[in-house]
Symmetry: C2
Subunit: 456 residues, 2 copies
C-alpha cells in the first residue's frame, strides 16, 4: 500500500527496496546508535517528489526520515523500523550564485565543498566548514546547524541561511525567509528550521548568505606538554581580544593516527598541538599572528612559531582534517561534542584526561578550541564489549562534566539519538515542554523524524 502509493506519486525509479542497498541508507556515522529497517528509500529528484513523499507518509502515518550524505554523528538520520528514508543527494544543483546580493540558491544535496569551490569562482566564500565538508551536504548542514573550523570567527550554518523552500509537516510546499539583507516580517521560521534535524520540515531549496573571499590565512602552531597548558593558551588568546579565523587543538593520538595512515612525516614532539589562524589582511594579520605566538608561549608552549611557509601550515591543518577518518580506521569511535565557556576549557580538558584514565579508555581529542567546542573520541577495539561499556561510561561522564561546568552537551553535532538524555539533563523540563509544543504545532501528524532531537 505504502509502496504502491509512493510508486504512483514519485515513480518506480526513485524507489530503493533492495535490503542491502537500504542498509547503507539506514544510519549515519554515529557509533552504536540504534537503527531499524526502512520500508523503502526514496531518492527524490524534485521538491514535488519531496512533497509527495510527505503527503503519502501522512496518509499512511509512516515516519519519514530525510537525509543528506549521512555523515552525521548523532544518529539523527537513523532509520526506524518500517519508515521511509528520503535521500536528497540527487537534488544537487547550485541554482544561482549572485555576487551583488552575496547569496547562492542551492538544492539540499549540494556538497559543502562543492558549493565553496563553485562560489569561489565568483570571488565569494561560504564559511561554514564542518570536517565532513568533502562529503556532507548543505541540507544536512542545515538540519544539524553544522559548525566547523572557521566558525570561531564567522559563526555557524544558521548565520548563513537566509531562507528556504520547505515541505511542511502538513505536506505544503512553501517559501520562508528572504533574499534581502534584512527582514523582520513574521516569526523567524528559517532559524527555527536550522538545527531541527528534519523534525519540523524538509528543505527543498536553500538560500545561503555569502561573504567576499578573504585574505590568505597565516598559521601559528604551538606545541604543549599538557592539555591544561593548551587550554590556558586558548583562554589567553580570548583574553588578549584576538579573534582568530581558526583555533584548533589536536592531540598526539590524532596526529599519530594520521601519520600512520598517510605517512605525512608529522614528526611532532608534543602531546598537544594548537593551530591558530588569522585572515586579517596585511600588517594587522602579521600582528595578530605574533600576538598568538606570544599567548601560546606565555601559556607554557614548548615551541610556538608563526608559519611563514603556508604549505607547512596547510599540512598541519590537513592532518587535523584527516584525524577523524584516520581514527575511524582503527575501530569503533565514539565521538563527543561538548561545548564549554572559554574559561572552562583548561578544566574541561583536564577532566577529559582524568575520565579517560579512570575508565581505562583511549581518548583522542580534537577541538574547535577557540569556541570551547571539544571532540574527545573514545577508541575501542572491534567487538571488545568491556571496552565498549567503559567508553559509554566515559561518554556519559564527559557530558555530565560539561553540564557541571556551564556548558552544553552538543556544540555542533546535534542531539539526534545520542544526546537525548544529555539534553534532558542540561535543560529544564519547562523548556523541553516548549520544544514539544513547537514540534506538535509544525508536525501535527508526528511523522517527521519522530523520536529525534527533542525529548518526547
Amino acid at each position: 500500500m505504502l509502496l504502491d502509493d509512493l510508486r504512483r506519486r514519485v515513480g518506480d525509479d526513485c524507489l530503493v527496496t533492495d535490503t542491502d542497498v537500504m542498509e547503507s541508507f539506514a544510519h549515519d556515522e554515529a557509533e552504536w546508535a540504534p537503527y531499524g529497517k526502512p520500508a523503502v528509500v526514496v531518492r527524490a529528484r524534485t521538491a514535488e517528489d519531496v512533497q509527495a513523499v510527505v503527503q503519502v507518509c501522512i496518509e499512511h502515518q509512516t515516519p519519514l526520515i530525510a537525509r543528506g550524505a549521512g555523515t552525521g554523528l548523532s544518529g539523527a538520520a537513523n532509520a526506524i523500523d518500517g519508515c521511509v528514508i528520503l535521500s536528497l543527494e540527487r537534488m544537487n544543483k547550485v541554482l544561482e550564485v549572485n555576487p551583488l546580493e552575496r547569496l547562492a540558491v542551492v538544492q539540499p544535496g549540494v556538497v559543502n565543498d562543492h558549493l565553496r569551490d563553485h562560489v569561489a569562482e565568483s570571488g565569494l566564500w561560504y564559511p561554514p566548514d564542518p570536517a565532513s565538508s568533502p562529503w556532507s551536504t548543505i541540507g544536512g548542514n542545515l538540519a544539524t546547524n553544522a559548525g566547523g573550523m572557521c566558525c570561531v570567527k564567522y559563526g555557524v550554518t544558521r548565520e548563513y541561511v537566509l531562507g528556504m523552500q520547505l515541505v511542511t509537516g502538513t505536506g505544503e510546499l512553501v517559501r520562508i525567509g528572504r533574499r534581502t539583507a534584512k527582514g523582520v516580517a513574521g516569526y523567524d521560521l528559517t532559524g527555527l528550521m536550522v538545527g531541527s534535524e528534519g523534525t519540523l520540515g524538509i528543505a527543498t531549496e536553500i538560500t545561503v548568505r555569502l561573504r567576499p573571499l578573504r585574505a590568505e590565512e597565516i598559521t601559528v602552531a604551538g606545541f604543549f606538554d599538557t592539555m591544561v597548558d593548551a587550554g590556558k593558551a586558548v583562554e589567553a588568546v580570548a583574553a588578549a581580544g584576538l579573534t582568530p579565523s581558526a583555533l584548533e587543538l589536536v592531540d598526539r593520538n590524532c596526529l599519530k593516527a594520521v601519520d600512520d595512515w598517510r605517512n605525512m612525516g608529522l614528526s611532532v614532539d608534543a602531546n598537544v598541538v594548537l593551530l591558530g589562524r588569522t585572515d586579517a589582511p596585511g600588517d594587522t594579520g602579521l600582528a595578530e599572528a605574533e600576538q598568538m605566538v606570544q599567548c601560546f608561549t606565555d601559556a607554557g608552549a614548548t615551541y610556538a612559531v608563526r608559519s611563514e611557509d603556508s604549505a607547512e601550515g596547510d599540512a598541519l591543518f590537513a592532518a587535523r582534517r584527516m584525524a577523524y577518518p584516520a581514527l575511524e580506521r582503527l575501530g569503533p569511535l565514539l565521538t563527543e561534542d561538548v561545548c564549554v565557556p572559554k574559561f572552562q576549557v583548561p578544566t574541561m580538558l583536564g577532566r577529559i584526561e582524568e575520565i579517560g584514565r579512570r575508565h581505562d579508555v583511549l581518548i583522542a581529542t580534537l577541538a574547535h578550541a577557540g569556541d570551547g567546542n571539544l571532540h574527545p573520541m573514545m577508541l575501542t577495539a572491534q567487538g571488545d564489549e568491556d571496552q565498549k561499556r567503559r567508553s559509554l561510561a566515559a561518554f556519559d561522564e564527559i557530558i555530565a562534566a560539561a553540564i557541571e561546568l556551564g556548558g552544553t552537551v552538543t556544540g555542533e553535532h546535534g542531539v539526534g539519538l545520542l544526546k537525548l538524555d544529555g539534553l534532558a539533563a542540561e535543560q529544564a523540563p519547562e523548556v523541553l515542554a516548549l520544544y514539544r509544543a513547537v514540534k506538535r504545532a509544525l508536525d501535527p501528524h508526528n511523522i517527521l523524524n519522530p523520536g529525534k532531537g527533542i525529548v518526547a
Copy 2:
C-alpha cells in the same frame, strides 16, 4: 478584581492607574496607529513581578502588552482597551560584562547606548545601533530584532542574542539559549523570540554577544543630484566586493530639517548624500575608503571625498542620526521601512520619488542603503486630513512596490499593527498559518500582545 490581584502579587507601588500617566504608556511612536485605554500599567522591578503579571493576566484572560521605551515605529506596543501594559524600564541593570566570553547579561530595560558605553570600558562593543539607541532598550530591540547603521557589516540584534531568561505564555520562568560560543541542543527558541514583538514570551534577562572594540572608522561622503544615481553608487559598492561598516543615504529634506533645528551649518549642495564608512584597520581601511570614493564618482557623484577630518564625518553622521527627531518636530511623520535586494535600490528610490510626486506628498528619505533598507517618511501638516489620506495612499503604494521588486514590507521596524496587511500581501497563506500554529503553541491563552505581529 484584576487590579486587586495585581496589587496583591506585585505591590501597589508598581501600579499606575492615573489616566494621564497611562496615556503616555499606551502607544509607541508609530504615526496614526490605533491604540486603546489600558486598565493598568505595571512597572515591573523583577523577573518574579513579570511572571506574576503574566499569571494574573492568564487568570483574567486579559491581554498583556510588554514595552521598553516605546520608541517603536510599528504600533507593536500599542494598548488594547482594558489591557495590562507591562513596562520593563525599571529593570535597567547590566548584570555582567565578561571580556573573556565576550558577552554581557542585562535586564531588558537597559538602554542601548548605555550598554554600548558600559561594555566599551572593558574594550568590548555591542554592535546593533538603531537610530533610537539613546532611548530604546535592549528588551525592545530584542522584541523588534532592531537593526541600525552598522548592521550592513555586523548584522542585526538576532545575531547578538545568545540566550535569555523568559516568562512563557503559560507563566513559567525559564532560561533558553546559552552562554557558550556554540550550542545546538534543542530548537532555536532564542532566535524565535527575537523579533516576535512580545507575542511569544517576555524576556526578563538577556545574554548578548559582544565583539572587541574596533578600529576608528573612516568616513566617505558623496553628493548626488538624483536618488537613482545614489542608488547606483550603493549597487557599485556591493558589486566591488566592499563591506562598508555603514552606508547611509540622507536626502535634502532630511538635511534641511536638521539644519533648521540645530543650525549645524550643513551647507550641502546636493539632493542626496551618501555616507559610507569603513572600520577595516590600517592600509586596508584607507584602500576601502578610496574604492568607495571611486564607486561614488563612477555612479555620477557631483562630489565625493574621503573625510580626513573625523569631526567632519562625525558631523554628517550626527545629522543623519538627528534626521528623524528633526522631521518629527514638523508634524505627523509616517515612516516606511521597506527592504529590497541591492540591485533594486536605484529602481525603488525612483519609485518612491514618483509615488510622492503623484500623491503630492512630501517624502523625506533616509536609508540604510547598503542593506537596501529604505525609510521614506511622509510629512504632513497637523490636522490636514486630505494630506493624511494621500500619505496613507503613498505608504501603501510603497509597500506594494517593495513586494513587487522582491523585497519585504519591513526591514527592521517590525510588523506591529502598521504592516499586518503588508505581511499578508508579502507572504503565502500557508506561511501565515505556520505563524499562527507557533503562536498557539507558545501562547495558548492568547494573552501576549494579541493582534500584533502576525495575521490572525
